[in-house]
């Protein structure tokens, strides 16, 4: 089992969701986050005074999947989120120790989907 965390551009969320849907991975947790990468945010100007780069709005997706779905999930996110420009975001894949479905008490691969 893997835990996939993806940080993407907010305006690419719909495309990523559609791509995940096509890959039959409908389960996802989405949150609005702030962050910056190597582009160091955007310079802002207030009353003629420049303020150094601030954090940019991003969207974070979290998906727990069984091994068979790791590659399709990464493929779907990449396909939906890529523009080729700086700032497209990143995908992190972590090992997942345990999953428990609260309603039934199922554990592991059974509980994930």
């Amino acid at each position: 089992m893997k835990y996939i965390i993806a940080v993407i551009q907010p305006h690419k969320l719909d495309e990523v969701m559609a791509a995940l849907e096509r890959a039959e991975i409908p389960l996802v947790t989405v949150s609005n986050v702030l962050g910056r990468g190597r582009q160091k945010g955007v310079t802002e100007v207030y009353r003629g005074t420049k303020e150094a780069g601030s954090l940019l709005k991003k969207v974070k997706l979290e998906i727990a999947v069984n091994e068979a779905f790791v590659a399709p999930a990464i493929e779907a996110i990449t396909q939906g989120a890529r523009t080729g420009e700086i700032g497209d975001g990143k995908i992190f894949v972590l090992d997942l120790g345990e999953v428990i479905r609260i309603r039934t008490g199922e554990r592991g691969g059974e509980a994930i989907g």
Partner: protein, 309 residues
């Protein structure tokens, strides 16, 4: 009576923006009462009261450019310097937290200002209409000019800049609105945007004082320029009770310049004295820990914004 009361309360209120997030609420209240009594009240009588020395000198201030804006703007600067900078100023970015509110506030000011300026004719007559027109047109010119300056300097005009420019226009036309013609009102609006832009973007950046809302840069500088502009552009053809400025063959510039120096000087010195007094008795600045937590929570025990996103 109520009209004059509004002038008296708005003047110390103008300063709040300068020392935002630093001053103790209780100390601020005491300061405001003392300042209104010992700075605003004498100034208003000197300029507008029968027998006031600035009025006897021939000084003109239609709706409070020197009495309200220059005096509070300069006092705001003195307070900024005495209170010191906010923790983290120039190290971490301080961004205006809500631009739609800025636009809403700017619009309310613009609208409310007609009451102050046109209302200072003290009658619903043709002079009130003239003041109304010059107020509107100078403000529009100043907002537009500021946007154009930013466009040239930074490649993009901004909402905050346009609103700031418009307020600077309102300030500068305040002493002049009942004495100048609309064409010169446009010129006053354009020049005040340029002067205030320089004061805020260049001079403030060099000197490094922390005037959060640019009360000095807009109200102080704009009020002083507007007062001097009366000495240049006033004409009796607009208001027979006024005078002719330099460009209309008159000698109005001299009393205007005396006012533009004397009033800010008086306000600045008095602010210094009142601040020192308040600071000695009740310690004006909040504790650093309280400042870091935020004044909403430490002074009032309430959060201003409970819904995010």
């Amino acid at each position: 009576m109520v009209f004059q009361c509004m002038f008296a309360v708005i003047t110390p209120a103008l300063m709040i923006g300068a020392f935002a997030e630093r001053m103790k609420f209780s100390a601020f209240l005491v300061f405001t009462i003392l300042w209104a009594t010992f700075v605003y009240d004498p100034l208003a009588h000197w300029v507008w009261g029968t027998g006031g020395w600035m009025r006897n000198l021939g000084g003109l201030d239609f709706a409070g450019g020197i009495v309200v804006h220059a005096s509070s703007g300069v006092s705001a600067l003195v307070l900024c310097l005495l209170l010191g900078k906010r923790v983290g100023y120039q190290k971490t970015p301080f961004r205006p937290h809500n631009l739609p509110f800025t636009v809403l506030g700017g619009a309310l000011l613009w609208f409310g200002w007609f009451g102050f300026n046109a209302g200072s004719a003290l009658a619903a007559n043709d002079l009130a209409a003239k003041a109304f027109v010059t107020t509107h047109i100078a403000t529009a010119a100043a907002g537009l000019t500021w946007a154009l300056i930013e466009w040239q300097q930074h490649g993009k005009p901004t909402v905050l800049g346009t609103v700031t420019g418009a307020v600077a226009g309102l300030v500068a036309i305040t002493p002049a609105c009942g004495f100048v013609n609309p064409m010169n009102a446009i010129f006053i609006g354009m020049t005040v945007a340029l002067i205030c832009y320089l004061a805020i973007a260049v001079v403030k950046a060099r000197l490094g004082y922390d005037d959060a809302l640019d009360a000095f840069g807009v109200h102080g500088v704009g009020g002083i320029w507007g007062t001097i502009a009366v000495g240049l552009f006033a004409e009796k053809a607009v208001n027979a009770a006024g005078a002719d400025g330099l460009f209309f063959g008159g000698a109005q510039l001299w009393p205007q310049c005396i006012m533009a120096v004397a009033a800010p000087l008086f306000a600045g010195v008095m602010t210094f004295v009142i601040y020192k007094l308040v600071d000695a008795v009740m310690c004006a600045r909040v504790k650093e820990k309280d400042e870091t937590i935020g004044l909403d929570l430490t002074q009032q025990s309430e959060a201003a914004y409970t819904v995010i996103e």
